[in-house]
């Protein structure tokens, strides 16, 4: 069992965020001790980590909430959940190609800058030339 502060430390989220996630039903109701303080179990922590993973993939709060809601409703909702996960996968794949494009562009920029900084004449490069270089793909 972990206190709010401990759970926050373990997960890297703030206690406020943990309360927010609970309020938004991304987490089950967290157990309380005699003082009404939250007591996070190891399973809660694991679940929080999974939510963090989903959030890192930009899956919106309401989407995670819907998923959790179906999960709680149980086996009858299996197909719906399957479709949701498929949609998440499509989202993730789209983001991966977007990121790959940005990666490639950024790589090109880095090479460009490295070349320019290696030479000693970069201060002669005019604004308009450089601007155009960027406009036409950084090569």
């Amino acid at each position: 069992m972990y206190s709010a502060k401990e759970a926050a430390k373990i997960t890297g989220l703030s206690t406020a965020t943990l309360r927010y996630y609970e309020k938004e039903k991304l987490l089950p109701q967290i157990a309380r001790n005699s003082q009404k303080y939250r007591q996070y179990t190891d399973e809660d922590i694991e679940w929080i980590k999974m939510i963090q993973c989903m959030r890192m993939a930009n899956i919106p709060i309401h989407s995670i909430k819907d998923y959790v809601s179906l999960l709680i409703q149980g086996g009858e909702t299996l197909e719906q959940r399957f479709v949701m996960v498929q949609n998440h996968m499509e989202d993730i794949k789209k983001q991966m190609t977007d990121l790959q494009n940005a990666f490639d562009l950024t790589q090109k920029k880095l090479l460009f800058y490295e070349k320019l900084l290696a030479g000693s004449s970069y201060k002669e490069m005019s604004y308009s030339e450089e601007w155009k270089l960027f406009k036409h793909g950084e090569n």
Copy 2:
């Protein structure tokens, strides 16, 4: 030369977003015709596409703005720009590993659901069992 509407159609952004980007200095001042209507050049369009690419990688508006500002200032700012691009690259790499983790998790979920849906007995799966399955990594 393209009108606001045409530029919007080509880039997939709204005219409002294009104006917003211009206001925020992500774009240079766009040329105007006699009626003060914007006239986007091919170079403007290319530049907008580059901004879109950066936005897809979640590079914040203010960061792009700072970069463009340095670019306009010219050659003296080369090292600063180089550092900025290096930082963008670090960001992008971090996002890529996060996305890869989400991808792996989602893949596992899909396999799990496929197995479950292939069998005919999934309606006997209890809430608590399923919940735990997810809590412990979906396998």
